[in-house]
C-alpha cells in the first residue's frame, strides 16, 4: 500500500483494536480507529502560502455497563495511554445514568469491499504534490489573474471493532483540489474544484482553466433585480443544496413532529385519495418527477465506505422519480417503531438527463446561471428554508444564451422546493462542496421559481 501512517494497514489497526478491547472490563465496548497522513498545500496571490504534512490517529472508544455508556477519544497509542483511557472511560460510564435508548454493539455483518483506495495516490510524495500545484499557479500568472488554491492529499483508513466480534477496516485515498481565480481589478472571480480517489485522474489544468475563464467572464457584472426566477445551478451549487436536504431526511424527527416533512407530507396527503397512511411518508410523491437521489457506495465516480457504524451500506434509492424512498432511521428508533434501521448515506448520486451545460442554458428563456453557492444556513426548519449567496461567477441567461455577468444574489430557498421545481438536469460530476464533505456526484439543474432574495455587492 505504499507510504502510510501508523494504524492504516488492516493488521496494524486490528492489533490496535485488540489492544484496546483487551483492556476493557465493561460489559461491552466498541472502538473506532481513524488514521490519516495528510498533506495540505495552500496558495494565494499566485504563491504557495503554507505547505504542511500531518500524521494523525484517533482512537475512539465507547464502553457500556448495561445501559450506562461513555466515550473517550485519544491520539496516544502507548500501553500506558491506552490503559489510562480505558480506565477513565470505564469510570465515566459507571457514573452515567441508564440510557433507556441504549443498544448493544452492532453484530458483525458482511460488507462490500470499498473502492476508495488508489496506490498512486498513497505513494505520492510531498514533492509530487508541489509538482501538481506549480503548473496551476503558473497558469494563473500567465493569464494575469490572482489565484488562491487548496490541495489536500489524504491517505487514511478507518477501523471499527467491538465486543461482539465485529472488525471492519476500510482504507481510503483522495485528492481534493479547489481554486479561485480573481481578476487583477478584483471584480471578476471564478472557482472550480475536483475530487478524485486516484491521483492519475487529476486534471488540475482543466480545473484551473475553468476557474480562470469564469473569473474573466464575470468581470464588471451588471445588476439584475432580485426575484423569483429560473436558474441553472451548476453541480457545485446543486451538491450544497442536496446535502442539506438529505441530512434532514430523518424518520425520528418526522415522527416527533419537528421535521420539514411534517408540513410537506401533510400538504401532499391532503391531496391524495382517502386511505393514505398519514403516519408514513415513505412512498409519497413529495418532489418533482425528475428528482432521484441514490446512495451507492460502489459508484466509481464518488465512492464511499460500505458501512455506517457497522451497519452495511448498500445501494439505496432515497428519492426516486420524486417519491420518497428512504429516511435515516437510527437503531433505537427502528426497534421502537418496528421498522428497519436505515444508516445515513455515505454518498449521494443524482443521475442526470445527460444534457450539456450549454444545452441546459439553451432551454432557459430568461434566467440566471449560478456556478457556486456560499454560506448556506437554515432559516426556517419548518420548511427547510435556507439562505445563502451566489459567488465566483453568476451570469444572466437571455433567449437561451449567456448574456453577461450579473451581480451576486442572496437566496432564500428550500432544497425541498428545488427538488420540486427542477425541470431538467445535465451530466453528473464530482465536485467539492462548500459546506459538506460527503462525496457527491450530481448534475447541473434547471430550477424554476428560485428565490433570489436580494442583490449582493460582493464580486
Amino acid at each position: 500500500m505504499g507510504l502510510m501512517p501508523v494504524g492504516i494497514t488492516p493488521n496494524e489497526s486490528k492489533v490496535l483494536c485488540q489492544r484496546v478491547l483487551g483492556l476493557v472490563q465493561a460489559d461491552s465496548a466498541e472502538v473506532r480507529v481513524a488514521a490519516a497522513a495528510d498533506q495540505h498545500l495552500r496558495s494565494a496571490n499566485n504563491d504557495i502560502t503554507s505547505n504542511s504534512i500531518a500524521n494523525r490517529i484517533a482512537i475512539h472508544l465507547t464502553v457500556s455497563y448495561g445501559q450506562r455508556s461513555a466515550s473517550i477519544s485519544t491520539n496516544q497509542t502507548s500501553d500506558a495511554a491506552l490503559r489510562e483511557a480505558v480506565e477513565k472511560v470505564q469510570a465515566l460510564a459507571r457514573l452515567v445514568p441508564k440510557d433507556p435508548e441504549h443498544l448493544p454493539p452492532v453484530e458483525p455483518a458482511d460488507y462490500d469491499e470499498p473502492i476508495m483506495w488508489a496506490e498512486p495516490t498513497a505513494a505520492a510524495t510531498p514533492a509530487d504534490t508541489i509538482g501538481w500545484m506549480r503548473p496551476v499557479i503558473e497558469q494563473a500568472r500567465a493569464a494575469r489573474v490572482e489565484s488562491a488554491a487548496y490541495l489536500i492529499r489524504r491517505v487514511g483508513a478507518t477501523a471499527l471493532s467491538n465486543s461482539c466480534g465485529l472488525f471492519v477496516h476500510q482504507p481510503h485515498t483522495a485528492v481534493g483540489f479547489s481554486m479561485t481565480a480573481r481578476t487583477l481589478t478584483g471584480n471578476g472571480s471564478g472557482w472550480a474544484s475536483t475530487q478524485v480517489t486516484h491521483a492519475h485522474n487529476l486534471d488540475l489544468t482543466r480545473i484551473a482553466e475553468q476557474a480562470i475563464r469564469k473569473a474573466i467572464d464575470s468581470r464588471n457584472p451588471a445588476e439584475r433585480p432580485a426575484g423569483r426566477t429560473t436558474v441553472v445551478l451548476e453541480s457545485a451549487a446543486v451538491r450544497d443544496l442536496l446535502a442539506l436536504l438529505v441530512e434532514n431526511l430523518d424518520r425520528r424527527s418526522f415522527d416527533e413532529g419537528r421535521s420539514f416533512l411534517n408540513s410537506l407530507f401533510s400538504n401532499e396527503t391532503s391531496l391524495e385519495k382517502p386511505g393514505t397512511d398519514r403516519r408514513d411518508p415513505i412512498g409519497s410523491h413529495l418532489f418533482g418527477d425528475k428528482a432521484t437521489l441514490v446512495c451507492d457506495p460502489l459508484c466509481p465516480e464518488a465512492p464511499c465506505g460500505t458501512h455506517d457504524g457497522g451497519l452495511p451500506l448498500v445501494r439505496t434509492p432515497w428519492i426516486e422519480g420524486g417519491v420518497l424512498k428512504a429516511m435515516h432511521v437510527g437503531r433505537f428508533w427502528a426497534l421502537k417503531q418496528g421498522i428497519k434501521a436505515q444508516p445515513s448515506p455515505g454518498n449521494i448520486i443524482m443521475p442526470g438527463d445527460g444534457l450539456t451545460l450549454e444545452e441546459l442554458i439553451s432551454r432557459v428563456e430568461d434566467g440566471v446561471l449560478i456556478t457556486r453557492l456560499w454560506y448556506l444556513r437554515m432559516v426556517q426548519p419548518q420548511t427547510l428554508l435556507h439562505t445563502g449567496l451566489t459567488r465566483d461567477g453568476t451570469f444572466a441567461i437571455v433567449h437561451g444564451k449567456l448574456a453577461g455577468p450579473v451581480k451576486n444574489f442572496r437566496f432564500n430557498e428550500s432544497p425541498a422546493t428545488v427538488l420540486k421545481n427542477m425541470v431538467a438536469s445535465g451530466i453528473g460530476q464530482r465536485v467539492l462542496g462548500g459546506e459538506n464533505a460527503m462525496p457527491m456526484h450530481v448534475p447541473p439543474l434547471i430550477v424554476k421559481d428560485f428565490n433570489l432574495s436580494s442583490v449582493s455587492d460582493a464580486s
Binding site: H40, A44, N45, D47, I48, T49, S50, N51, S52, I53, R56, A70, S71, I72, S73, T74, N75, Q76, A80, V89, L92, A93, R94, L95, V96, P97, D99, P126, I130, E146, Y150, T180, R182, S189, G257, R258, W374, Y375, L376, R377, V379, Q380, P381, Q382, T383, T387, G388, L389, R391, N408, R410, N412, S414, T417, S453, S454, V455, S456, D457, A458
Partner: protein
Amino acid sequence: MNRRDWMKRTTAAGLSLIANRWQRSMAEAASVNDHFIRLADIPLNKATSLGASFADFHIMQTDSESLFAREQMVQGVVAESTFGCSVRVLVDGAWGFAASDDRSEESLVQLAESAVAIARAQGGWRRRPVEIEILPAFNGRWEQPIEVDPFAVALEEKIGRLLAINQAATGSGATFCSSHLSQVRERKWLANTFGSHIEQSRVRIFPGASVTVTDPRKNEFATRASFSPPRGAGYEYFRDLDCIGDARLAVEQAREKMVAPSVVAGKLDLVIAPSNLWLTIHETVGHPTELDRAMGFEANYAGTSFCTPDKLDTLRYGSEHVTIGADRTALNGLSTIAYDDDGVETAGREFAIIDRGVFRNFQMALGQAAWIGRTSSNGCAYADSFEAFPIQRMPNISLKPGPDPSVTVQDLIAGVEDGIYIEGNNSWSIDQQRYNFQFTGQVFHKIHHGKLVGMYRDVAYQGNSVDFWNACDGLGGEKTYELGGAFNCGKGQPGQAAPVSHGAVPARFRQINVLNTSDEAGNKTVASNGNCNGGKLGQWG
C-alpha cells in the same frame, strides 16, 4: 430511576473516581514543562542547521469533555484528549510545516527535516518571498485565572444540572428539551528561534439548551435556544447561570412564538440585544477586518473583504456612536491569552478596529504588518491543534458602551415607534466580501409606541454591513454590556475552529430591512390593520 435517586447513588462513588480522570493529562503536561527547553532545542537547532531563517516549535495538549442530555436521558458523555507537536520553518522565503503526535526526539528531528524539505521544494519559483518581523523574546508562563476547574468537577454534578434544565423545560410544557455542556482545556508550549519559551493554559466552557414545543394538529413546531454563550471561564460560569429560569422562559417564549403573528416585511427600527448582536459584530466587523482575508489569503474559501487597506482611516464604517475594539486580554474572553501562537505578547496591544465610526485597524499575525506599513503584528495568531499551521484569527472584538452609563434597553425601545426588539442568535449568513448579511434570532418582540407589545415570528433582518452600522443611533450604557461569543469559528484550509468572544450593549438601528421568512419560503402572509394575522395564501412551493 429518577434524577434524585440517581444523584444519591452516584455521588459517593463518583467523587473519588472523577478526581483522577485527567491525571494523565496533568502528568504529561508536567513532563513537558520539565523538559521543554531541551526538547525545543532539538527541532529548532535542526531546522537552523538545515538553513531555516526562522523556526518555531509548538506542543499542544487539548482535553475536552462534552455531555449531551435529552429530556431525562443522558445520550452522550465524551472525553477527548490530543497531544502532539509541530515544527514551522521559514526557508528561502517559503513556509514549511510538519506535525505529529509522536514527541520522541527522533520524531522531532524528522519533523524539522520534513518541514525544511517541503519549504525548500517551493524554491526558485516563488513570486514574493515571505518576510517576517523580528519579535522580542519572551520567557513566560501564563495560566488563565479560573475559580473552579471544570475538569475537577464531579460528572454527576454536571449531569444533574443538565437533567434539571430539561426537567424544568418539560415540566413547563416543552415537548422536547436537549441540553449540553462542553469544556475544553488547551495547554500550549511555544519556542522559537527568536529565543522565546512560552507555556500557557486556558479553559473554556459552553453550556446550552434548546426547547421545542409542537402542535401536531397543525403540523407546527417552534424552538427557542438558551441565552448562555460560551465563555473563557471555569465551572463557576455554569454554576452561577440561571439555566432553570431560562429554560422555563424559553418554553413560554417558544409557545408564544408558535402562535405569534407573522411579521410584515419592510423597513423597521430594530433594537438588538447583546445576545444577538455579538454574532452580527462577528460577521460584519470581525471577519471583514482580518488582514489576511483582505489581502486575498482566504480567497479560495472564506473569501476576501470589502474592507481593504486603502480604506484605513477613511472608511465611515459606522455612525459616530460606534466604537469597536479588539483585545486578547478581556476577562472571560474566549480569545484571551498572554501570547499568541506566533509568540507575540498581547498585553498592551489592544486596538480599535472602528473608532467613533471610522475604520482604524486590521487584525494581524506574524509577517502581515508590513503589508499596511506597520511594524508589528497585533497578536492575532492562533492554531487550533498541534497539527494546524498558525493563521490570523479573531481576538475578542466588542462594541463599546455608549457614553451615558444610565441608558437601558428600555430607553432604547422607548425611542422606537414601530419596530422589533431581537434577542438571541440563530441563523446567520453573509457574502464572501462581507457586504450582504442576513440574520435571524430566537425571540422577536414587537415594539409599538415605545413599548413591547407581544411577539412576532418569521423575522430575519438583512442589510449591508457598512449601511447597518451607520444606521446605529443609540447604545446602552456600560451596565448593559454582555459578553457573547462563539466556541468554534471556522476559517482556513484545512478548516480550523477558533473560540472568540464579542461583548456588546443593546443597540438601536434605524430602518433596517426586515424579511418575512415564511414569505421567503413561498408562503404568503396577509396584512391586517398594519399588523398581520399569519394567515397563509397558497401552499408552500
